[in-house]
Symmetry: C2
Subunit: 293 residues, 2 copies
């Protein structure tokens, strides 16, 4: 085997084989990024299913065994499970093993790591693939999930450059476009573009679901409603964890949103036609400019 065809990792361990972990494993295999992929998680049945689907080569339910001998480790578990996973792998990682995660908030992951390891390990590169669907589980995973999508890595001053480079190559190998960003800034940007919309969509469906005539009401929901609320079909546990983990940035943008909604409601109440049109026009222009279709 020559240098050019040397894979990124001899053995990659993916902890959490759901939509994200499963899709990255599939993509890594398709791109020949590692020779062996070990899956880890709590449920042997679930992991066996991932083996049967060809997503992973083998599995371990014991975290210490799962990471032993791995040169690359991805934590693709809900944010609420991150700390326990750090505790489970502490002391069992190979000296040069590069570790990354796929959590949707980054400050909380850094805090969890600092609590468990005493300081942020130089080989731990916090990361976040901005990809997903409203479906979850290994059955929903597919190798192309990250094609053309963005992945944000948030290395700190302590982070080893080689480790960041390995993680960058992993995601680029899966077809993604990698950007580096400050931890806090990542959390603010994602609170605005992802966490807030989920909170708004969950709240809308719940508001309607608790109305007396809900069976009738949902009958008259058209395509716009379906699109608008699609993200409310996302995994409730994952999103609860995100809300708790990123609560500072999220609550700040929720408050800003509430002020803007108050202002619009006031304009409607006062029949302030110009103000309403101004808001709607600015919003339409921004969306038409930044989103395609």
């Amino acid at each position: 085997m020559n240098i050019a065809s040397k894979p990124l990792a001899q053995r990659m361990t993916v902890i959490g084989i759901g939509l994200i972990g499963g899709s990255l494993a599939r993509a890594a295999r398709a791109a020949g990024l590692c020779n062996e992929i070990v899956g880890a998680g709590r449920s042997a049945d679930h992991l066996q299913r991932a083996v049967d689907l060809g997503v992973i080569d083998r599995y371990e339910t014991d975290l210490a065994k799962a990471v032993a001998g791995a040169d690359l480790v991805l934590l693709a578990v809900p944010l609420g499970a991150m700390k326990a996973v750090f505790e489970g792998i502490k002391g069992h990682l190979d000296a040069d093993a590069v570790v990354t995660d796929a959590g949707s908030a980054k400050a909380s992951v850094v805090e969890d790591a600092v609590e468990v390891f005493g300081a942020l390990p130089p080989n731990l590169v916090p990361g976040h693939p901005i990809a997903g669907t409203e479906n979850s589980g290994v059955e929903a995973s597919f190798a192309e999930l990250f094609q053309g999508r963005r992945v944000i890595l948030t290395p700190t001053e302590r982070t080893d450059e080689r480790a960041t480079d390995v993680v960058r190559k992993l995601w680029e190998g899966a077809g993604a476009q990698v950007t580096l960003m400050d931890v806090r800034h990542h959390d603010e940007v994602l609170a605005a573009t992802s966490h807030l919309p989920h909170v708004l969509a969950y709240t809308l469906v719940d508001t309607l679901a608790r109305m007396g005539e809900r069976d009738e009401i949902f009958q008259y929901a058209a395509g716009g409603f379906r699109d608008f609320t699609r993200i409310a079909s996302s995994d409730p546990v994952m999103w609860r964890d995100i809300c708790l983990a990123n609560h500072d940035a999220l609550l700040a943008i929720v408050e800003r949103y509430q002020e803007d909604l108050d202002a619009l409601a006031k304009a409607i109440r006062g029949s302030d036609s110009e103000r309403i049109l101004e808001i709607f026009t600015r919003a339409k222009q921004a969306r038409d400019r930044y989103c395609n279709g």
Copy 2:
């Protein structure tokens, strides 16, 4: 020509040849529902384009001429233009002409008609096709827009049953499923399932658009954001009119929504894990149950 093949109308006039008016004209033609389709509106250029596209047979920019001799008239104009159109056609309609509209709120249309005609004319059947896309204009119109979609008619005690029957056959001929509903109830249901989501989506995009780092922020918006905000690309004038026309029902549901959003924010602030999970789970279950995909 035998009875079975007799069309619903000899001449149908469609006032406002945009997405809805244009699509209904196309559908009526495709289904052979009328022998002649006359388009009406303010812009001769725009109407000529509709003729060139084969959507209408001919056009009039004068409302009196447009409705003369028509046995079926559809008003597919923004709610804010409805009263002026009633004024324009008053005294020029054939005695038996059936009139309907496609406005997204119904109480305001009834009020406008009562103001102009002194009382709700028996041959006027208020209606609302629950269909549309975020695109507007005759170029976006297509004959299949109403296939399998719901149309709500809100006849009152004064409304002639024959007129209601003609309008029902018109929409059924275009492939829609027709339901009758009380005016006020229609406005409440639509405020919840359509008007509120539009208000929320417009507000979200505007909140983000007014942030300093908006160019960067929108870069990291993923598929979920695109789906969630698609309705914010809708026509601002049409939606301003809907907010003004249906402000009572809309403000009531906005207020309810704000209370629910406050409660969720409070749960996040207090790290009330169970409460957040309860809300998200109930929302996901409702959406999975009532919406497909």
